[in-house]
């Protein structure tokens, strides 16, 4: 992939719009997937593991006990 802008003739308006939409979709997914690829941070894995507890304890933890 490269991000150089090709120096060509302008595309037709209708097709241009489709290309812009495709490009926007691509950018949106690139932004989103970059975070998805970071996986599960330790703090969340830890949180879920800790919450493997009866409901009473769950409520206690939710109230701020760490």
């Amino acid at each position: 992939m490269n991000d150089e802008k090709p120096a060509g003739k302008p595309a037709k308006p209708g097709r241009l719009n489709a290309e812009i939409q495709s490009r926007i979709g691509h950018q949106l997914r690139a932004m989103y997937d970059d975070v998805v690829r970071q996986g599960v941070p330790d703090r969340f894995a830890e949180l879920i593991r800790k919450l493997d507890a009866p409901e009473g304890e769950l409520a206690a933890k939710k109230d701020g006990r760490d």
Binding site: Q27, A30, V35, R43, L47, I48, D52, E55
Partner: protein
């Protein structure tokens, strides 16, 4: 349903996309992770209300979205984050496109009305159907479609107002961006 091992695993498996959704909505990595944490606590505290066999990611996204909404009303989002602080929250930069292009895109996304931004992210990035996105946002399917269309139109105008100068022959564009089109 009770919190089984497999349900816990499924919740954990949803964390990466919940984070991506939260960061996309809020534009702030620290706040996004707080939102995800609050979402997980709410989900686990209310796990009895989750119907077995229903769409777990959609259920979790609904919780996160509603938390973000109520949080948003309490404190206006920090405007300065539209200027690129978001990028600093990422461990790595997006692999495609330039850093500048990424920041421009992020800034444009932040200029969308919240309704449109969340609809576009749910459908265009999270990969939810229009029906699921409508359920998450608590509105009609037609409303979601309309919001996504308006979001795309607005982004086009913001990013590519002089678009014809940015694009070459069709073949080149296809080679650069691939064939994916939502």
């Amino acid at each position: 349903m009770p919190l089984t091992d497999s349900l816990r695993d499924d919740i954990l498996a949803s964390v990466p996309s919940l984070r991506a959704f939260a960061i996309s909505l809020s534009g702030n990595g620290d706040r996004a992770d707080d939102l995800v944490q609050e979402t997980l606590l709410r989900a686990l505290a209310n796990i009895d209300s989750f119907e077995p066999g229903s769409n777990l990611p959609a259920w979790l996204f609904t919780i996160l979205r509603n938390l973000f909404r109520s949080d948003y009303r309490k404190r206006r989002r920090e405007v300065e984050d539209a200027d690129g602080n978001y990028a600093k929250t990422l461990k790595s930069q997006p692999s495609q496109g330039s850093h500048l292009e990424f920041e421009e895109f992020r800034a444009a996304l932040d200029k969308l009305p919240q309704d449109q931004r969340e609809a576009l992210i749910l459908v265009g990035a999270s990969g939810f159907s229009y029906e699921d996105a409508a359920a998450i946002c608590g509105c009609a399917v037609g409303t979601i479609k309309s919001r996504v269309n308006r979001a795309r139109t607005k982004l086009s105008a913001l990013l590519y107002v002089n678009g014809s100068e940015d694009f070459g022959p069709d073949e080149t564009i296809r080679a650069v961006i691939g064939s994916g089109n939502g």
